[in-house]
């Protein structure tokens, strides 16, 4: 496919990804366009999870880079992240202008509470597979307490806990 095709493909993923980008990414990249196979998709995803960065952005870099090198990666990146700004910035401007409107402010209280609920559900979903491993629960609890309760800087917490986790997993303790 062309650079423009990559840009449009990832723009389409961005526009259909309210509430999670990976499901539309799979549908569009694997089922609809056939740019990657199902196995390649799961490999790319596994690697995206090891490397830092939003998973969907890393997927875009891999797919774009594989077909068109740096230009392809840039086109996929732009389609995924920069093009949606054209849609979102006008929404932001509306939000800013309605700042004093009691009705709009009120509805935001509801949406914000619901959005927090989505995040709670996501956390529980990703945690469920680890509930039988006491050490994994302990590691997760330490990360939660350090960052959520004690407000310690994330950088330091990750740099200490991630190597501990890797060592534990390597020794077969997790």
């Amino acid at each position: 496919m062309s650079l423009g095709g990559l840009f449009l493909g990832f723009f389409e993923i961005a526009l259909s990804s309210s509430g999670g980008a990976l499901a539309p990414a799979y549908r569009i990249l694997v089922d609809k366009r056939g740019w990657v196979t199902a196995r390649e998709f799961s490999e790319i995803l596994a690697l995206s999870q090891v490397l830092p960065g939003p998973n969907i952005v890393n997927v875009a870099i891999y797919v774009g880079g594989r077909y068109h090198g740096a230009a392809g990666a840039a086109a996929a990146f732009a389609g995924l992240l920069l093009a949606p700004l054209l849609v979102i910035v006008p929404l932001m401007v509306l939000y800013a202008q309605s700042g004093e409107n009691e009705l709009v402010r009120g509805s935001f209280r509801g949406v914000a509470a619901a959005a927090a609920g989505l995040m709670v559900a996501t956390s529980i979903k990703v945690a469920l597979p680890y509930r039988h491993s006491l050490r994994a629960v302990l590691l997760a609890s330490l990360a939660f307490a350090a960052v959520g309760l004690l407000h310690w800087p994330l950088l330091a917490v990750v740099l200490v806990l991630a190597p501990c986790g890797m060592l534990a997993a390597w020794r077969g303790w997790l």
């Binding site: 952005v57 979102i88 559900a121 994330l154």
Partner: protein, 178 residues
């Protein structure tokens, strides 16, 4: 461009760019740190405004990582949105691109499994920290806590679409239930 704007943009990039390289498990894990910086340390917005922006990011079309673009917009307008997007996703993308040629080898490398298995629980803990931060910022009344709990339960046990839940909560507020 005024000197103040430049300084704000530089501060925004200095907060987000290092986080780009530790955002293991996705963009949600760095939310508490961004909240700490923009609300606590810098005072660029209030707790409630941060919760509003998160709600907007969830409801608007686009991947969740655009929350940070929206935070950038709030702090320094359109340029802020651009700088935040590039600072947050740029460094990790360069790293991802650099590892592209080796990615098949990485996938089969003996260390990939322990690295992934070791990072995952930390990422889970950070996700809970994000949820905790958001609940604290968004829920100012008992009714709001109920909405949060009901949305979480519906998401876990039904196939309700997130957008439907967000709009439902907005409708609930407009009719005066919240």
């Amino acid at each position: 461009m005024s000197e103040e704007l430049l300084r704000t943009l530089a501060a925004l990039a200095a907060i987000l760019a290092p986080l780009s390289l530790v955002s293991i498990g996705g963009a949600n894990t760095i939310l508490p740190e961004v909240h700490r910086q923009v609300v606590g340390v810098r005072g660029w917005m209030s707790d409630a405004e941060f919760a509003d922006l998160f709600a907007l990011a969830r409801a608007a079309p686009g991947p969740n990582v655009l929350l940070y673009s929206i935070v950038g917009w709030k702090v320094a307008g359109v340029l802020g949105a651009l700088v935040a997007t590039l600072a947050l996703s740029g460094p990790s993308s360069v790293l991802a691109f650099a590892s592209l040629r080796a990615w098949r080898r990485f996938y089969d490398a003996p260390w990939r499994r322990p690295v992934q298995a070791g990072i995952a629980p930390v990422a889970v803990g950070l996700m809970f920290a994000s949820a905790y931060t958001l609940v604290g910022a968004a829920d100012a009344s008992p009714a709001a806590y109920v909405v949060t709990a009901v949305v979480a339960a519906l998401t876990l046990w039904t196939r309700a679409h997130p957008l439907v839940l967000l709009l439902g909560a907005a409708a609930l507020t407009l009719t005066g239930w919240l």
